[in-house]
């Protein structure tokens, strides 16, 4: 189960303004009636993107200038609320490979890293500046540098935060921990045996 070592994510960006964007907004609950994650991509941000009759609302994700963007920028506490992995799965299947926000809710952050989708934190001011750069030129390339924890947006470079454990996991290709967890089976067994209530 060798995974790709993720040291850089490059692509065009799209800015979805707002703080506390919750996972219900990223993927409304009714789209979770499914037994696979396939097909979730088209429902990302559905209720803020679509009118009741299915026609488009004004939303950055409906703006043809941002079609094909792979890096999503947003505000603080991104991905709060429900633990549904359907949210990062929907973004990933919609083509996103990295996120830049002021901060993240914890479960969303972990779920995203497990998919190999880096979540960089940057300052409010820097994100707004990047958003302005994208607005002026939607073709501008953005590069998330996992190694150096920095973001290049056009000509400018911005500092970013990424937890050590996430950075190490991405760089070493161990962002999905299942293989390593399986390797720890014997030690896990010993821990289980030491607990009265398990064994």
């Amino acid at each position: 189960m060798a995974l790709e070592k993720i040291s850089k994510v490059t692509g065009r960006g799209v800015y979805i303004p707002g703080d506390d964007i919750d996972t219900d907004r990223i993927i409304p609950a009714r789209f979770m009636k499914c037994i696979t994650f396939d097909g979730l991509g088209e429902f990302a941000f559905y209720d803020v993107r679509k009118n009741e009759d299915g026609s488009d609302k004004k939303h950055p994700l409906n703006d043809p200038r941002h079609a094909g963007a792979t890096i999503l920028l947003s505000g603080s506490n991104f991905g709060c609320g429900s633990s549904r992995e359907h949210a990062p799965q929907a973004l990933h299947k919609a083509g996103f490979r990295g996120i830049v926000a002021e901060s993240y809710a914890e479960i969303f952050f972990g779920n995203s890293i497990t998919l190999g989708m880096p979540c960089f934190a940057a300052s409010r001011q820097d994100i707004r500046e990047m958003a302005a750069t994208i607005e002026a030129d939607p073709e501008v390339q953005i590069e998330l540098d996992v190694e150096n924890r920095s973001i290049r947006c056009g000509e400018r470079e911005y500092p970013a935060e990424l937890r050590d454990s996430a950075r190490t996991a991405l760089l070493s290709g161990k962002w999905d921990p299942i293989a390593e967890l399986l390797e720890g089976e014997e030690e896990g067994e010993a821990t289980a045996r030491s607990l009265h209530y398990v064994r």
Binding site: G18, P28, A29, K33, D47, Q89, E106, I178, L182, L195
Partner: protein, 476 residues
């Protein structure tokens, strides 16, 4: 060295450190449900893996299950397929499944404690962010994503970083008509919806000492709404009393030994916390939300915020919230007309929630034009309510009395708001669209405040509507 309960439980369950720096943590009890588990079982099959400890894995249906129609096949073919899929997975992998036929079905966070699976000093994981509920028993309980559900199924462990620990004290005495729900809405309002990110919350102080187990669950349940993935209360005699004799609780000599161990779990008096926050019970009033996050709340006698008068940083959020809620800045929240009243959920769908409301609801009636539904958190809760005649009080008051499930908390079953209906809700989230209609509106409040809104047809002060002044619990 003095240790917190959190440290003691963490150390007992830490298997090893992974190369990323995460801890490989053993999970003592894994709870699963129909929405976030099917993909995980699919991944197990792809990888050719089994469930490592099927006897420590428990399943039930709650998110999608209808609360009116209780026999399979359900009318919604997708819901029916997901519930059948869970049954198939449980059969194939040897997992205990509390379905409707078992009589033990319900919201996973109501069922775990009710069955005695939730015990002090255990680690619990579930693919649901409200798993922190189980912390009320001195368990360390995590909401997890589906890939982690796979990890726990396959290895009974997961990779996780140890959070910091914040102690939250609420001392003093709550006034009559102020409930656990008001306490947690107050805490979230004060510390913010992201204030707990990176922390586990230990709740304590006189208010928590006095709380019964169900009140403790209500607070721990909403930890995640304040950003904290884990919330817990140190176990005490009330904890042991609640667990005694439950199906999965230890029996006989094993019970005595377990209680002995549990008594040593509580945080040592001089242990260190990364942060301590103190609140006074006397400062807490009946709380209602006005916005689209659980932190956007006021007391019932306060006014809806004016975006012009809030801090610059919050302004856009307040404008967005008021636009969605169709509420007028600066006007009182009290008197806001409601369309729907929902009493239930993993936050407030337990026996004492219905008992407390029933005591006041007797002889009253839901206002014309209001749809009111009462949804027990589990079949067990429903059964006791029915034995005590509580269901009858609700029905006679004009509530629909339903079968157990998550229902209108997240509206994955047919219980949904329509259009821009406004719902007085005892649930935990007021996010845009949360209750099933993209333009639907939610005001979070305690169960008694929901009842007050139901009978008056508007957001009301339950203390005035019901003359709350003395405890009114029907003793079981």
């Amino acid at each position: 060295m003095a240790k917190s309960l959190f440290d003691k439980v963490w150390e007992a369950h830490a298997v090893r450190e992974l190369s990323s720096g995460h801890t490989q943590l053993l999970i003592g009890a894994h709870l699963i449900h129909e929405v976030t588990s099917p993909q995980a079982f699919g991944m197990l099959r792809e990888l050719g893996l089994k469930v490592r400890f099927p006897e420590r894995t428990f399943a039930t249906v709650d998110h999608i299950v209808p609360t009116d129609e209780r026999n399979e096949p359900f009318s919604d073919p997708l819901a029916d397929a997901m519930i059948k899929e869970l049954r198939r997975n449980c059969e194939e992998f040897g997992v205990t499944y509390f379905d409707i036929a078992s009589g033990r079905q319900g919201i996973v966070h109501v069922v775990g404690p009710e069955q005695g699976i939730t015990q002090p000093g255990t680690t619990i994981a579930c693919g649901d962010s409200h798993t922190s509920t189980h912390g009320a028993f001195g368990a360390i309980a995590f909401g997890i994503g589906t890939s982690q559900v796979r990890d726990v199924l396959a290895t009974q462990t997961m990779a996780i970083s140890k959070p910091k620990l914040r102690r939250i004290n609420v001392d003093g005495k709550l006034a009559p008509g102020i409930y656990a729900k008001d306490v947690i809405l107050y805490i979230i309002r004060k510390l913010g919806v992201k204030g707990g990110t990176g922390f586990a919350y230990e709740y304590g102080g006189e208010v928590f000492d006095r709380f019964n187990m169900e009140e403790r669950m209500t607070v721990c349940n909403m930890s995640i709404e304040g950003g904290a993935r884990v919330g817990y209360v140190n176990p005490d005699e009330k904890t042991f009393e609640y667990l005694k004799g439950r199906p999965y609780s230890p029996k006989g000599r094993e019970w005595d030994e377990a209680v002995e161990r549990w008594r040593n779990l509580a945080s040592d008096p001089d242990c260190e916390y990364d942060d301590v926050v103190n609140f006074r019970a006397e400062d807490i009033g009946p709380s209602v939300t006005w916005g689209i996050t659980p932190g956007q709340g006021v007391f019932i006698d306060e006014t809806i915020p004016d975006p012009e008068k809030v801090e610059e940083e919050q302004r856009e959020g307040v404008i967005e919230a008021l636009e969605h809620m169709k509420l007028k800045p600066g006007s009182p929240i009290k008197g806001t007309p409601i369309d729907v009243a929902f009493l239930g959920s993993c936050t407030n769908g337990r026996l004492t929630d219905f008992q407390e409301v029933a005591g006041y609801l007797k002889g009253r009636h839901v206002a014309p034009g209001v749809k009111a539904i009462a949804v027990p958190g589990s079949m067990g809760v429903g059964k006791i309510c029915e034995e005590l005649g509580i269901d009858k009080i609700f029905r006679e008051a004009g509530f629909e009395w339903r079968g157990a499930g998550c229902s209108m908390c997240l509206a994955m079953n047919p219980d949904k708001l329509v259009g821009d209906q406004l719902c007085a809700s005892s649930s935990n989230r007021n996010f845009k669209g949360r209750q099933g209609s993209p333009i639907g509106r939610t005001i979070l409040m305690s169960p008694l405040m929901v009842a007050a809104a139901a009978v008056t047809g508007q957001v009301s002060d339950a203390r005035e509507v019901f003359g709350v002044g003395s405890p009114n619990l029907v003793e079981v």
